[in-house]
Subunit: 239 residues, 2 copies
Amino acid sequence: MSLNFNPLYRQVREHLVGRMRSGDWNAGEPLPAEIELAKELGVSQGTVRKAIDSLVTENLVVRRQGRGTYVATHEEPVAQFRFLRMRPNIGEPVQPESQILSVESCYPTEGVAGLLGVDLVQACLLIKRVLSFEGRPVVLDEIWLPPQQFEGLTQELLQNYKGPLYGLFESQFKVRMIRCEERLTARQASEEQARILNVAASTALLIVERVSFGYEEKPMEVRIGSCVTEGFHYLNFLS
Amino acid sequence: MSLNFNPLYRQVREHLVGRMRSGDWNAGEPLPAEIELAKELGVSQGTVRKAIDSLVTENLVVRRQGRGTYVATHEEPVAQFRFLRMRPNIGEPVQPESQILSVESCYPTEGVAGLLGVDLVQACLLIKRVLSFEGRPVVLDEIWLPPQQFEGLTQELLQNYKGPLYGLFESQFKVRMIRCEERLTARQASEEQARILNVAASTALLIVERVSFGYEEKPMEVRIGSCVTEGFHYLNFLS
DNA sequence: AAGTGGTCTAGACCACTTT
DNA sequence: AAGTGGTCTAGACCACTTC
């Protein structure tokens, strides 16, 4: 009969996730040693290992042999391209430069409100920016954020921060992005988009609509990217 | 000093992959029980389990509790949407109908030859088809195949086969696709594409360039899909 | 009842990093 | 040398499927 049989290692996993959520261990900080956790929780080291294994495959933590297990962060080099999939057609992946166009408080469109799970009458933060690869504008982003979690976010803060936005979110606002859903379509550039991206008005753009999640099931960001795909592409691996 | 230290479980893994490649166990067939394999290879069951774990995460095999471990196949329902990412904007994922437009022997373009790793002077198989979702044409595919592995592939065979192409490839030609690299761009529809897909001539299309691999490192297929994204999108999960 | 994968334990030893 | 994660073993028992 036994429904809801929950294996020990999964309970341990949930326990560890809870402590990361609650701030016991922040991004970049080490977890206690496996043997310590095992003693503390009254289980074997193997069970703790299996729990941590699953956290590793979900990119919640990183193992470093001989040193320890650390809460994953978007700042470390290996994570730089985790959510950034635009690549030049030839040559190595390159880090883009970000130019913030505007930061405003703004009522969401119906579509955005639905995706973000907020009311239409609740103003959201709207960031507009351009990502440039080697001086060439490639991505025009509209980034919508729920205002509660991101109080104090200013244009200066954004413009002065180097590195991926999610690094800023996790260090300044305790919002760690874990996973995203992206919907990709193609659409002709509007006149404004064409001007900003420096392409002809009718150019076909790749539209990337992203909804991002933290530890919770509630969306924490909606991002609409309009991408030039002359000389660049969106790279995806299937398995 | 010990470089190239290769753990036992990885050796076991390679052994198992080799036996799948060589046809010892074909798609859909069961592997010997873990305990059997352990005895046979002179290792513990735990080591076999760890090897099989990695095969499971790579979708090479499927575990079924109480029954056994089976070589994964593209025929099983769970695999239907593994490599097919186009979804209707509203409602559930749907299986497309495939209409074969042509099957010809054809010299590859420079780009395709490079991706497939074949000579420009070697004729390849070129399949053109349309995928329709609920009667509406959405994807126009150009599928390039190296001719050696696909002798005997005809339009009749393709048209009569229901289900994903990769199911046919694995059952008829012993070619199992394991992983793909996709490069996505946006481009205006050509007149011919617009006619076939029943859209206006200047419509922006989502272009999906896919290179597929089997057990070997050699590409086994190049596929160029031109997708209508009015009412449909390409779905991707990042983590 | 028998056979399969799934969980859990305890302990040994190895590889790597830091002190 | 001490501490960490990484590998490997042997054995017990549980959950699920088939006979």
